[in-house]
Symmetry: C2
Amino acid sequence: MRDLMQDEAAAPRPTAAGRVLAIFEVFRTASSALSMAEVSRRASLSMTTTHRLMHELLDWGAVERTDEGRYRLGTKMLELAASSGAALRLRERAVPALLRLHRMLRVLVVHLSIRDGFESVYVESFRSAHGTISTNRIGGRMPLHLTANGRILLAYADSAVQDAYLASPLEARTRFSDVDPAVLRGEFELVRERRWIITTGQVTENTGGIAAPVFDGHDRVVAAVGIVVNVAEQHLEDYVEMVRSAAAQITHAIETVED
Amino acid sequence: MRDLMQDEAAAPRPTAAGRVLAIFEVFRTASSALSMAEVSRRASLSMTTTHRLMHELLDWGAVERTDEGRYRLGTKMLELAASSGAALRLRERAVPALLRLHRMLRVLVVHLSIRDGFESVYVESFRSAHGTISTNRIGGRMPLHLTANGRILLAYADSAVQDAYLASPLEARTRFSDVDPAVLRGEFELVRERRWIITTGQVTENTGGIAAPVFDGHDRVVAAVGIVVNVAEQHLEDYVEMVRSAAAQITHAIETVED
DNA sequence: ACGTACGATTCCACCCGACGGAAGACAGTG
DNA sequence: CACTGTCTTCCGTCGGGTGGAATCGTACGT
């Protein structure tokens, strides 16, 4: 569609590895399969270089060709993700509890996320067939202060992380979005005290979230479980215990099978 | 544990990109976090090179450090996988139907797989809490001829692919494993005729599988849905309709939201 | 059919980034 | 304290990586 904004597409460092990563970056931000020339442009690499690198990636299986001759990331990347540290084991142990939670809450969305830097990354998410609210997919990212899950993760992060985060510019998505560090610090306080949180109107005006922390065997928070609901919906508080219970189940699943 | 078998660890091509991929390969096959020296050895790279590359990967987010200072793949790999062609959209559209199937079949395992070369890759899999049969995780691979899902995928593949596959050495995992090309060809015939399959004792003696094909909008098979059951269990045939129904639902979900 | 435009591929000579060795910093262990 | 392993920095040399140009392929428009 709009092909004229690849200007600031992250100038790849003049190192060979940097160029490979630049190509990955292109695919990470691209929504569909790309032609080699498109990759070349977006990665700011010469066609020659792109061509050679792409073929190395093809041989290895990092990218694959579509029937129309375009390129996209290959299934081997799936394997890599599965080997990726935190995500894998966590997801595996968490799914049963997430499913139970999801089953109790037909119409809603269930999310499991971990913190990566200043962002919340979705490790798993189940939404019901119709529920089109919240379009996050696995691997998707959101600012920490706008989602219930994110606030859980930030509330339990090192104070150094909290300070740094609150000192950075805080994005607002609605007129209700909390961007005042003082308010957020208060939220964190509350979270650590109650071990759950409710947010409303932060991402879009008519949605809210309920989330709770997942602990590892050493009382450290490794993830957050949360659901997204329509604020029009009755008492959000009614869901709190279900979410907390799911979080507790996952905590238990992680603690027992420690390795 | 056994650190003496890194000999045949895929000599990385003497190209910079090849070295990067060698590192990815190390993590792909490693089960836990690794020290940099371990990566260096397994990838057959000098410490200097490993050190420099690893830091580039760290900066970009491809790998991350554990608390103990070891290295593992970073959460950004999750994002890459989510952007990976076939897997993503397919998985997204399929999950609701898979969940419905899973809900009906408490004790069992539900798998969604696609074909990648001569292997079946699991795109999603749900197992019930206790059911410890079948240890496949997302991104996991299996030979095509041994699983119900794999046979579905192979039965609908180009005949060129079939011929090539059947001409290659066929692994057997139990004394019941079918490794006779003629027998397998017969199976494929049957699959295309009935649009479902039952296998028994192929991977382990006491498990069986039931699977059905998922089509895209152009009558091509893009995935297979299957379940794993204990052969001791009653009539495997009883599950066929449920599996076929789930496959049909996914087919429908893919066709409708074509893009 | 012809011409144009764009993408993919191959070839090549120059050159700069990548490489490995060596040596030093650091931590844990006996 | 010596020893063993890991991680890190520095540097001179060398080879793989690089961009340009030329070729081939294919789809589109006139």
